[in-house]
């Protein structure tokens, strides 16, 4: 018998000396790795702060808007010359001239057509709409005088918010020296000031920055995502359950699995083209509709939800399945009673990721016409609509200064929407997780 003591073995002291030598190197490597990690996290936080800082500094001003206080006379000669109080006539009356009369009254010293036109330019064209709505709502005010706040023009708004320079040469400004004088006069006696901009949240899109709002895009996004969630979550979870728990393992299911994984990586615009060809050209669904947007985004979200749901199902310990089957549960009972409750949190995580991606998508929506200029707020799933990211894209392209802050404002609304949506899902997930 060979004794194992004859084999070449280092003494304990030698071994310890080697271990000590290697220790310093190991700790250095660990310290280095920690430093890399901390640096990466700090850089990430820095970028996030920069991003939010720029968006909020540019976009926060959108929630306040310049209004001019005017004293208007609801002149019956202008509004209702026939005196019949015919609603059709009240709608089509020339309210613009009432605003103009009020401005002339405020600045009686201004004379001559070019000067007057500059004066009229201080107030938004939306002001006459405001008067029209008031008169149609209550025709008895015709003939009376009223002091009210009306929207100022976006150029005035930009000046009040210090977004344009007063010191630039006059011909490079959109406001003349004369107009700035009037604006300062109005501001001096508190007839021109920034007030809370409810219109940004209650209006649809507009060509005038001072009138443009995100409500149309917000509702469009909400309707689109509702369709996406209703379609992709049940179908995705169902597909995952079938593939993971019921489908036989063969070449066919392998091909399906590979394809689902590939679909998750397909550029989103391709899904837009598919939606255009299938839902609009083939099935004849309306263009620019949240219904079609939701269908397209469902196609986009499905692979994500299926992959996450399958991973969640795989993570359920096999002992639970065996316990259920051993008790005589059918496969479906096993899945529904025991596997699903444990997998739901993971599935919800997949849904959060998928829905967040769907909310931020604009490219596929461009393909199906949700990029159109739509003033009306959609009231149903087949009304023409646009979505928040598309609205951001549209406004970022427009030349007026007023749309710069509106672009940032729309991004703020988009981020808030995202936070609310994800918070809801996280709360739901935590609720399910607590049930052991």
């Amino acid at each position: 018998m060979n004794s194992t003591n004859d084999l070449p073995v280092k003494s304990a002291d030698e071994t310890q000396a080697l271990v000590r030598k290697s220790l310093a190197r190991r700790y250095r490597a660990e310290k280095r790795f920690r430093a890399y990690g901390a640096a990466a996290v700090l850089a990430g936080i820095g970028f996030v702060i920069f991003l939010f800082g720029t968006i909020f500094s540019q976009g926060a001003s959108v929630f306040r808007q310049s209004y001019v206080q005017l004293t208007v006379t609801y002149d019956p000669e202008v509004i209702d010359p026939s005196g019949a109080r015919n609603p059709d006539e009240l709608v089509t009356a020339d309210y613009q001239s009432i605003i103009r009369a009020a401005l002339r009254e405020r600045f009686p010293q201004v004379e001559g057509r070019p000067n007057l036109r500059e004066l009229y330019g201080v107030v938004s064209s939306a002001a006459s709409l405001e008067l029209q709505q008031r008169v149609v709502a209550d025709p008895s005010i015709i003939g009376s005088r009223e002091t009210l706040w009306v929207l100022a023009d976006d150029t005035v708004d930009m000046l009040l918010k210090d977004k344009v320079s007063r010191s630039a040469p006059e011909d490079e400004r959109r406001l003349s020296d004369q107009q700035i004088g009037w604006i300062d006069a109005l501001a001096a006696d508190d007839s021109l000031k920034l007030r809370f901009n409810a219109a940004f949240l209650s209006n649809g899109d507009s060509r005038d920055p001072e009138q443009a709002g995100v409500r149309g895009a917000l509702i469009g996004s909400a309707l689109t995502l509702l369709i996406t969630l209703l379609l992709s979550f049940p179908i995705g979870v169902g597909a995952a359950i079938y593939l993971e728990e019921f489908a036989p393992r063969n070449r066919m299911t392998d091909i399906i699995e590979v394809n689902i994984n590939n679909l998750a990586a397909v550029p989103s615009i391709v899904f837009g083209l598919l939606g255009l060809a299938m839902f609009i050209a083939l099935f004849g669904l309306p263009r620019s509709a949240p219904l079609v947007g939701g269908l397209v985004l469902s196609l986009l979200t499905l692979p994500t939800i299926i992959i996450a749901s399958r991973a969640a199902l795989k993570a359920v310990p096999p002992s639970i399945r065996e316990a259920a089957l051993g008790m005589g549960a059918s496969r479906l009972q096993m899945v529904m009673h025991h596997v699903m409750p444990l997998a739901i949190p993971g599935m919800l995580t997949g849904a959060i990721i998928g829905m967040a991606r769907a909310l931020g998508e604009s490219a596929p929506l461009l393909m199906i016409g949700m990029v159109a200029f739509i003033v009306d707020v959609p009231s149903g799933f087949v009304d023409p609509a646009t979505a928040l990211p598309v609205q951001v894209f549209l406004w970022s392209d427009l030349p007026e200064r007023g749309f710069v802050e509106r672009t940032s404002g729309a991004i703020i609304v988009l981020l808030l929407f995202l936070i609310v949506m994800n918070a809801t899902a996280v709360i739901l997930r935590n609720k399910f997780e607590k049930r052991w």
Binding site: R249, P317, S319, I320, R321, E322, A323, A324, L325, G326, M327, G328, A329, S330, Q333, H337, H338, P341, L342, W436
Partner: protein
């Protein structure tokens, strides 16, 4: 029920030594082969399992005893690539027959696993689950009664009666395993299969489970896989020794342990290998 639970003749050429058959068997297994893909895991096993007694299956790791146990309630069906051949009769009826529903089979043949695996639900729900899915209780009161009786029989009632609504996973390992036994007997099975039920437990919890097995033997046929020969000697009336997929020897426990006929059995129980 047992229209033909007479002794089935053992096929010619079986190499198993000892008393393969018992009178009035609950299970009769003849020429059972199991394949995992190309691997021949169980080779032509012939064995009867008697009523109201404990059959212990012993043997070195990988000898196929757990695989054989899982044939008896068709749990091998769930393993991809597993194939079972031969005849396994429960009360005279082949469990692989078309008209034998696998769900019903598993209600008749309960199982307790190696690692305690209570459902992540309350203690009450764990025990009530089987009766509920099989529709054994007409109303809530009857279900309460079944849960109560099952927990009493599993010797767990006194410990958990005040916290039936707490999660089953909050119990200790030994309590969890007794909960799993209570869960199995709640559907009133004919046979209980136990796959190394004590291997994850300390000696005190093991002793409680062994006492419990001894009590349950009066009502059920019990089939237990164990690595502990002392446990096999303590709890079983019959013992089967498996080796590399072959059933080497089967017979009364005291005979196997005091006077084994096969050389392999003797080597194993005297601790020469395994």
């Amino acid at each position: 029920m047992n229209q033909s639970s007479k002794i089935r003749p053992v096929p010619e050429g079986t190499k198993t030594i000892g008393d393969v058959t018992v009178p009035e068997p609950v299970f009769s297994c003849r020429d059972v082969d199991v394949y995992y893909g190309d691997k021949h895991a169980i080779k032509k096993v012939n064995i009867d399992i008697g009523r109201k007694q404990v059959l212990a299956m012993i043997g070195p790791s990988g000898c196929g005893k757990s695989t054989f146990l899982r044939c008896l309630n068709r749990m091998n069906d769930t393993i991809v690539g597993a194939r079972v051949e031969g005849m396994i009769e429960l009360d005279g009826q082949d469990i692989h027959e078309k008209r034998q529903d696998v769900v019903q089979l598993r209600a008749r043949v309960g199982m307790v696993f190696q690692k305690p695996n209570p459902f992540p639900k309350s203690i009450y729900e764990n025990v009530a689950y089987g009766p509920r899915i099989h529709g054994l209780a007409a109303d809530r009161a009857e279900l309460d009664e079944i849960v109560n009786v099952s927990l009493r029989r599993a010797g767990l009632w006194e410990e958990v009666k005040d916290r039936l609504n707490q999660p089953g996973t909050s119990l200790s390992g030994g309590q969890q395993q007794r909960l799993c036994i209570a869960r199995a007997i709640a559907v009133n099975p004919e046979v209980i299969l136990m796959d190394e039920p004590c291997s994850a437990l300390d000696p005190i919890a093991t002793a409680r489970i062994e006492d419990l097995i001894d009590e349950l033997r009066e009502s059920y046929a019990i089939c237990i896989v164990t690595h502990s020969m002392q446990q096999a000697a303590r709890v079983s009336q019959r013992t089967a020794y498996f080796h590399l997929g072959d059933l080497i020897e089967v017979g009364e426990t005291n005979k196997i342990f005091t006077n084994p006929q096969a050389k392999l059995t003797e080597d194993y129980i005297t601790g020469r290998f395994g």
